[in-house]
Point group: C2
Chain length 197, copies 2
């Protein structure tokens, strides 16, 4: 669609922005079932990173759906566009030198793969919160599984729409077995071992 | 379109993120004709702020049109959506504690006003680069005015599409009279006098 546009090389600035913040920017992409603990863990990690002086930002359904993506509904096409835009915004944040976290169910492999390709190697970190469906449904913090079982919500992931389990996520954490703190510590270890932080 | 979504209160985090960066985040919205000097001045300001240790990011047609907004063309509707998304992304960056700069012609008052309303009072700073059309057309760095005069580009701002001059921008700078450095200094003065930086 776009014509007559050249991509400016922001490479030097990009490196400089990251150095200024004493971190290697990346996108931590949390994926998993509703109720798996994505948002809770992402928020706790965000806080832990912030306390270490890191520069972070969390994109979640709440701040994105109300703003940038408020024109999108829940059709397949709109769900794909929702994920695409989050990936593109994440890319801008990483370009700005930040560690950006996102927490969305993102059930389809193709969508997650599409986002992965936006990033240089090593800057997209897929964190699969692998909590069992039975545990998620038991917790049901928003009562959505009950509604889905009653047929009041259609195309609900795990009930009448599939969740495609990541085959090779950078991290897989079962938040049915691990506490929130244990999950956060595992991610912090991952990040510090590889010198993101 | 969106239902069942609550807005999480990130207010405390927001303040903390800004304090971490020793600045008052805001969106500097550059507007003006093609060739007025918006991008040049925004880039120079970005660099000046960075050198002062400030945390900034620049959104421009190049990085946004290639990514987030690559699905948009140049119809009226798409131009409005282009500006809306830039405003929403700017809002996320300001929420993250950054000083964000954007450089887009944004010729219509209603679009700029729409973006202004996304921000708390004082966090949207409209910078009108008030270079005369004759000067812009003389410079014509991309040869676009020539093409527009020959009718090869339709709806070109200043030629066959109007530019609505801001009535009350926070700053108005005539880059036909002032050098790039003088414009940058004027904006830095504005920001430091009001304690953004």
């Amino acid at each position: 669609m776009s014509t007559d546009i050249k991509w400016h090389d922001h490479q030097i600035q990009r490196t400089a922005r990251a150095e200024q913040k004493s971190q290697h920017p990346c996108m931590l992409w949390f994926t998993g079932l509703s109720g798996a603990g994505k948002s809770t863990i992402a928020n706790a990690l965000d806080e832990a990173l912030f306390k270490r002086g890191k520069h972070t930002y969390l994109l979640d359904g709440d701040n994105v759906r109300h703003g940038l993506n408020k024109d999108l509904g829940f059709t397949d096409q709109d769900r794909i566009e929702n994920i695409r835009r989050i990936g593109e915004v994440g890319k801008l944040f990483v370009d700005a030198g930040l560690i950006v976290l996102s927490a969305f169910i993102s059930p389809f492999k193709s969508d997650r793969q599409m986002v992965r390709t936006l990033f240089p190697l090593g800057e997209f970190i897929e964190v699969y919160i692998a909590t069992d469906l039975t545990v998620c449904e038991e917790r049901d913090p928003k009562g959505l599984y009950k509604k889905a079982r009653r047929g009041e919500i259609k195309n609900f992931t795990g009930i009448d729409s599939s969740y495609e389990v990541p085959q090779a996520p950078e991290l897989a954490l079962d938040a049915g077995q691990l506490s929130v703190n244990e999950c956060v510590d595992a991610i912090l270890d991952y990040l510090s071992e590889r010198q993101y932080i």
